[in-house]
């Protein structure tokens, strides 16, 4: 039976088909060719361009924009992909407002940066639509590299290594490659199966073998790969989540890990079959919190509230994402932490919160409490690296629970490189994962070329 936004409890089919389609269509208004010309003309072609410096993958932004301005979208895409092979996805998911577009001199002069992200999308879409693989493999070197994890870091590493002529094997725990591009980011940012189209594009260079449903620590260990391959790259991402540590977290129906739910949503072929609560509460302040909040709303939840323990400007989600949430009808509530999950007959009914404050840099309870009705609460309070399989006789050094790497993305163990969210000190962005994979590939190539 079709529900409605006011139907009690966690139910499926709150909306009609047209509403699901509209809610999960592409969030970005695409630039037409003419709009791309006009927008590209706004680029000043800066000296030592600040936008390029702000890009973790150092895409030559002024050059690709100038190429678009002169009807060379394919050339523009090659400029982008040469620096960032996942430039198509990054055009969709990068927080450009805190990277290239924040650095754009027009942002400083008029508060309206060149729409670099949309221009990048314009170019990369053209190339992917044309079905071109602009990069060619070098002569095979006979060297073998194992890449663990088929997410952004692993794909970027594999592509660059393949370009150098090495033979690459990607080990992926899930049944398909893509990592967070496939399972994590919000559906309205990656429509029409884009993540898989991009994976296919990356693999089309050749020389990359993929082994899916192969988990590190379960099916193999790093030590074993070190013996069988000339180099190993670890790009496993973060496969566990932080817990609230509240009673009822594991047994009350309605307490759900946001990452897990988003993964289901991304793989869902029919969103009307995906149940969602009427009163949804999201705990957290990062991109995942915003993504699950907005998507819950788009699935038909009547009330969605993000509750964050600190202030809005301390949220890890960018201002753009916060704005997006608010425009979608999500309420942002700050300075409160969950203190109790309240249930009735095994089902969540409400969440009690303790008001918080900052005292000399420390987060403390401010004394007050309040309760929000909730049939569904999503936890989005950070993810954890699972270090299974990286130990053994020569364990990888960790810091803060993540893998330690140097500038070249070398780990503490010779022959093993790492990158992406699983390494310490990263930005947890797709674009920085791509850079890690790329830099590791350069380093591996140097090591194998000796």
């Amino acid at each position: 039976m079709t529900g409605s936004v006011r139907a009690e409890g966690i139910v499926e089919g709150r909306l009609g088909k047209d509403e699901y389609d509209a809610n999960f269509s592409d969030i970005h208004p695409l630039l037409s060719r003419h709009e791309a010309f006009v927008e590209s003309d706004r680029c000043y072609f800066c000296h030592d361009a600040p936008c390029q410096k702000a890009c973790p993958t150092s895409i030559d932004i002024p050059l690709f924009i100038r190429q678009i301005a002169n009807s060379n979208e394919i050339g523009a895409a090659e400029t982008i992909l040469n620096a960032n092979i996942l430039g198509g996805m990054c055009a969709r998911v990068c927080p450009t407002e805190t990277l290239c577009e924040e650095a754009c001199v027009r942002e400083h002069s008029e508060g309206k940066p060149v729409k670099i992200g949309l221009l990048q999308r314009h170019a990369t879409d053209a190339l992917l639509d044309a079905g071109k693989q602009p990069f060619r493999r070098a002569e095979p070197t006979g060297k073998k590299v194992a890449v663990i994890g088929g997410g952004p870091a692993g794909l970027a590493c594999a592509h660059k290594l393949a370009e150098f002529g090495h033979s690459v094997t990607i080990f992926e725990a899930k049944h398909v490659l893509g990592g967070l591009n496939e399972f994590g980011i919000a559906a309205y940012k990656s429509t029409e199966n884009f993540a898989q189209r991009e994976v296919d594009f990356v693999l089309s260079i050749g020389g990359i073998e993929t082994k899916t449903v192969q988990s590190l620590g379960v099916d193999f260990e790093i030590g074993q790969l070190r013996r069988e391959y000339d180099a190993v790259f670890v790009g496993t991402g973060l496969s566990a989540v932080n817990k609230l540590g509240l009673s009822g977290e594991d047994d009350l129906t309605g307490v759900i890990d946001a990452v897990d739910y988003i993964s289901k949503l991304r793989q869902s072929k029919d969103l009307s079959k995906l149940p969602v609560g009427r009163n949804v509460v999201v705990i957290g302040g990062g991109m995942t919190a915003i993504d699950i909040a907005v998507q819950s709303k788009k699935l038909g939840a009547e009330h969605v509230t993000v509750v964050y323990r600190r202030g809005q400007d301390q949220m890890k989600a960018s201002a753009y994402e916060q704005h997006l949430a608010q425009m979608s009808g999500v309420a942002l509530l700050t300075w409160a932490r969950p203190s109790e999950l309240i249930g009735d007959k095994g089902k969540l009914t409400a969440v009690r919160f303790a008001e918080t404050a900052e005292n000399a840099g420390q987060l403390v309870d401010a004394g007050g409490t309040f309760t929000l009705p909730a049939d569904m609460v999503f936890t989005a309070i950070g993810q954890l690296f699972v270090a299974d399989g990286v130990g053994g006789a020569q364990p990888l050094a960790l810091s803060g629970g993540r893998i330690v790497v140097d500038q070249e993305r070398k780990t503490s163990v010779s022959g093993v490189w790492a990158g992406g969210d699983c390494v310490a000190g990263g930005q947890d962005l797709t674009v920085s994962a791509v850079e890690d994979g790329k830099q590791a590939a350069f380093s591996i190539h140097r090591a194998l070329s000796v």
Partner: protein, 435 residues
């Protein structure tokens, strides 16, 4: 409000804005619409002899656009009027009667025979129009038949035809010049010698707009083949301005009335041509791009400008800039400017540095104390203005005249008295040898 009325060769118009002889002035309906919109006068599209010519039915116009399709330059291969002479004459007479306060000049183009010119002048006179303009300018089509620019490129022909026309009509005769020559002063001098009352310029410039790289043919093309057309619009204004200045300051043609044409799009363009000596201005491309309403901007803008400057009439500022045009050899070599970058306005795009570094004198920093910062190095700056012209921010980079102290680039004191190339020691032909 300033008085915009003009009296050009006795032809009166309420403002200096005339529509040039071109498609906008092809017929009664257009011209009446123009007069209703406020245009001060028109030069009726060029009349020829019957049987009238025919135009192509393929594309007649091509253009160069900016990225937002702002039209920067226009090119056409349209010929003179393609309607019977009698119809044009009837319409001219009717419109002039209905709009007596507007200037009505008629453009003419017939073969280079005295009888042909005498015949058409007689018929045109009967329309009671205010004057005629001899089309010695169109560079396409008609020039292949020995008319238009084929006449304008030979000073002797210009003089000859102008003289015939002055002999055969009492009407003022304006000679319209082609820019497709090496030195505009020669045809202007010829027009004056022939007795012409004025010149108008520039007509269009021979041009091929672009090449269609798919068809591998000129664009636009007619059934696969193209021909050069006449180029006009905002892009040609500097060329026209120079040619007007050359005629205005030439000793032989000084004082010869000029009706200026060439890329005039705004009041400011018009004011510039008037300041260079033009008595009226003629507009075509701007009207063909935006319609007749643009004249409202031109009238109000010019009026506002004149009020601000205290000019009561067009004559008050006409030609004021002309004496400031000189030859390179008379420029003051002791005048020194240095670029100055307003750091508050600078948005740090760094283009000034990039172009100075790559293509000029390496006179702008990119880093100061390790930080991105663009400052002029006076010891390298030659005052060329390149940085200022490429800077995207208005007034961010200015060229500051140096009056006291020593130029760190040359070691010379600033503020030395005027001296030019004619007396410079490096000039082998210097009139006064260096001591």
């Amino acid at each position: 409000m300033a008085d915009l009325r003009t009296n050009f060769l006795g032809i009166k118009s309420p403002n200096p804005f005339w529509l040039a002889s071109a498609p906008p002035t092809d017929r009664e309906v257009n011209v009446v619409r123009a007069f209703k919109a406020g245009w001060g006068g028109v030069v009726w599209k060029t009349l020829g002899e019957d049987p009238h010519i025919v135009n192509v039915s393929g594309p007649r116009y091509g253009a160069i656009h900016g990225p937002d399709r702002r039209l920067i330059g226009l090119n056409n291969i349209e010929l003179i009027t393609d309607r019977p002479l009698e119809i044009n004459l009837q319409e001219i007479k009717k419109v002039k009667r209905e709009w007596p306060d507007r200037a009505m000049v008629v453009s003419l183009m017939v073969p280079c025979e005295e009888t042909n010119w005498a015949a058409i002048l007689k018929r045109v006179e009967e329309t009671e129009c205010d004057g005629v303009e001899l089309n010695f300018g169109c560079p396409h089509g008609m020039s292949e038949r020995g008319m238009g620019s084929a006449v304008g490129q030979v000073p002797e022909y210009i003089e000859m035809v102008a003289r015939w026309c002055k002999q055969h009509t009492r009407m003022p005769v304006i000679v319209k010049l082609t820019p497709n020559i090496t030195d505009i002063r020669f045809p202007a001098r010829a027009a004056k010698k022939g007795g012409a009352d004025a010149v108008s310029l520039i007509n269009t410039i021979s041009s091929i707009m672009s090449v269609d790289l798919d068809a591998m043919a000129p664009w636009p093309h007619v059934d696969g083949k193209g021909t050069h057309g006449g180029y006009c619009g905002p892009a040609v204004k500097p060329i026209a301005l120079n040619m007007v200045a050359e005629i205005a300051r030439d000793q032989e043609t000084q004082g010869l009335p000029i009706s200026a044409i060439g890329g005039i799009t705004t009041w400011k363009d018009a004011a510039e041509f008037i300041a260079m000596g033009a008595g009226t201005v003629q507009v075509c491309t701007a009207a063909m791009t935006y319609g007749f309403k643009i004249v409202e901007e031109m009238i109000t803008g010019l009026s506002q400008f004149m009020d601000e400057k205290g000019y009561n009439s067009i004559e008050d500022f006409r030609g004021m800039a002309m004496p400031k045009v000189t030859d390179w050899q008379y420029l003051n070599l002791n005048y020194v400017v240095k670029a100055k970058i307003d750091q508050d306005l600078c948005i740090s795009c760094g283009r000034c540095h990039q172009v100075c570094e790559d293509t000029s004198h390496q006179a702008i920093t990119n880093l100061v104390d390790g930080k991105r910062r663009f400052e002029v190095k006076d010891e390298e700056c030659v005052g060329c203005n390149l940085c200022a012209v490429v800077c995207p921010v208005t007034d961010c980079i200015t060229m500051v005249p140096q009056t006291s102290g020593t130029d760190p680039r040359t070691g010379f004191e600033y503020g030395r008295p005027y001296a030019n190339w004619t007396t410079h020691p490096n000039n082998p032909a210097a009139k006064i040898a260096a001591e």
